[in-house]
C-alpha cells in the first residue's frame, strides 16, 4: 500500500469513527434489524475504502455513506424476496433515495431525524434482555464504532469471544423482537439505568488500566465520557445522565495524579505530599514503614516521612 493510500485509509477510518453510530442508527430505523443495519453500513464503508482514495472524500461523508448503505439495502431487498417481505417498511423511501443524484447527498443527510435514532440505538444496545458484558461489547461496536479487535484489546478478552458475544447479542435482539424505540415513560427509569450501567462499566474497565496495558484500555474511559456527553445531549432533562457524566469527568481529572511518569500507580502518601498535605503524608509514610518487612524500603519510607516533616 502506498503512503497516499494509507493516508486515505486513515481518513476513511476517522470518518467512520465519527459517523458510524449515526449511520447504523438511521439504517436500523429503516430495516428494523440492528445486525442487518450494521452489515449495510459496513458494506458502505468498504465502498468508501475503494472509492475515496481515488476520488477524494466527499463533501458530506456521512451523507455519502448513508446513501450508499441505502442502495445496498435496496439491492438486498431485490435479491431476497423473503427479506423484501420483512422489510416492506422500506418501500418508497428507499426507491426515492436511489433516484436522488449525488448532489442531493446534503438533503438526504440533513433530513434524517438522526438524534432520535441515535437514542434508540443506545437503548437497544443496552437492552436488559442482553447480559451486561454483551451490552458493553455491542455498545462499543455500534455506538463507539470500534472494531471487534479493538474491543477485545480494550476488554482484555480474546477476539473470537468478543465476535461471538456481539453476534449472539444481535441474534438475541432479533429473536426477542426488541423494538427500535425510546422506552415509554413508565419503563424509562429502568431502561435508562441499564444504559448508564453500561457506560460506567466501560469507564471502569478503562480506569483499571495499569502500566504497560494496551492504549485501548484507557481509551475506553474517553469513550465512556464521550458517549455520556452524547446521551446528556439527547436527554438533557435526565439528571441521572448528567450525574454520571460529572462522576466520570471528575474521576478522569485524577488521571494525571494517580499514575507517575512511568504509568505506575502513585501511592497514597505520595499523593498527599503532592497535594500539599505534608503532615498527613508523613503519617502515612510512617504507617507504611511499620507495615513493611523490607529493611531498605522501611529506611526509604522513613526518609520520605522526614522530608514531609521538614516541609510541614
Amino acid at each position: 500500500m502506498t503512503t497516499d493510500n494509507a493516508a486515505a485509509q486513515r481518513a476513511v477510518d476517522a470518518v467512520w469513527r465519527i459517523e458510524s453510530a449515526r449511520i447504523i442508527a438511521g439504517l436500523t430505523r429503516l430495516v428494523r434489524d440492528v445486525g442487518l443495519a450494521e452489515e449495510l453500513a459496513q458494506d458502505a464503508l468498504v465502498a468508501a475504502l475503494e472509492q475515496w482514495p481515488a476520488e477524494g472524500i466527499p463533501a458530506r461523508p456521512g451523507g455519502w455513506l448513508m446513501l450508499t448503505a441505502k442502495h445496498r439495502a435496496i439491492d438486498r431487498v431485490r435479491r431476497d424476496e423473503r427479506l423484501a417481505g420483512k422489510l416492506s417498511l422500506l418501500g418508497r423511501e428507499l426507491e426515492a433515495a436511489q433516484r436522488s443524484a449525488p448532489a442531493e447527498f446534503d438533503a438526504v443527510a440533513d433530513d434524517e431525524p438522526i438524534d432520535d435514532d441515535l437514542l434508540r440505538l443506545m437503548f437497544i444496545s443496552c437492552h436488559p434482555v442482553l447480559s451486561a458484558e454483551a451490552r458493553v461489547a455491542l455498545t462499543l461496536r455500534l455506538l463507539g464504532g470500534l472494531t471487534t479487535e479493538e474491543i477485545a484489546r480494550g476488554l482484555l478478552t480474546a477476539e473470537p469471544t468478543i465476535a461471538k458475544r456481539i453476534t449472539r447479542a444481535k441474534r438475541t435482539l432479533a429473536s426477542n423482537e426488541v423494538p427500535f424505540e425510546v422506552p415509554a415513560p413508565a419503563a424509562r427509569p429502568a431502561r435508562l439505568a441499564s444504559v448508564l450501567e453500561v457506560l460506567y462499566l466501560i469507564f471502569n474497565e478503562g480506569y483499571s488500566a495499569m502500566a504497560g496495558d494496551d492504549w485501548m484500555r484507557p481509551a475506553l474511559c474517553h469513550e465512556a465520557v464521550r458517549l455520556g456527553r452524547v446521551l446528556a445531549g439527547l436527554m438533557p432533562e435526565e439528571p441521572e445522565v448528567h450525574g454520571l457524566v460529572a462522576l466520570m469527568e471528575i474521576q478522569s481529572s485524577r488521571f494525571p495524579a494517580r499514575l507517575d511518569a512511568d504509568g505506575l500507580p502513585v501511592p497514597l502518601p505520595e499523593l498527599l505530599a503532592r497535594a500539599g498535605r505534608p503532615a498527613e503524608a508523613a503519617a502515612e509514610f510512617r504507617r507504611a514503614a511499620t507495615l513493611t518487612r523490607n529493611g531498605p524500603e522501611r529506611t526509604m519510607l522513613l526518609r520520605r516521612a522526614g522530608e514531609c516533616d521538614a516541609r510541614g
Partner: protein, 87 residues
C-alpha cells in the same frame, strides 16, 4: 457554522470555543518585560478564534478541521495537541 458547532457538541467532542481579541504582546528579554499592543501588529496572521476538542485520534481531528474549513472558506489554522499536567 452554528449547526456544525452544535453537531460537534452533541457528538461529545467539543469542549470549548472562543474568539480572541488582539490582546497584548509580551516580550521578555534579560529580565525586562516589554508590552506592546496586539500580537504581531504588522503580521497578516493573527489567531482570532479557537476550538478545544477531544478527538480520539489525530486523524479524527484532521477530519473535523477539514469540515470546519469547508464551511469557513479560505484561511489558515493550526491543529495542536494539548498535553495535560505530567504525572
Amino acid at each position: 457554522m452554528g449547526r456544525f458547532v452544535e453537531e460537534l457538541a452533541r457528538a461529545g467532542v467539543l469542549l470549548a470555543t472562543g474568539g480572541l481579541d488582539r490582546g497584548t504582546h509580551v516580550s521578555a528579554s534579560g529580565g525586562n518585560i516589554t508590552l506592546t499592543d496586539g500580537p504581531f501588529t504588522e503580521s497578516k496572521e493573527v489567531i482570532v478564534s479557537f476550538a478545544l476538542i477531544e478527538a480520539r485520534s489525530k486523524d479524527e481531528a484532521v477530519e473535523l478541521a477539514r469540515r470546519f474549513w469547508k464551511i469557513v472558506g479560505d484561511g489558515e489554522g493550526d491543529i495542536r495537541q494539548v498535553y495535560g499536567p505530567e504525572g
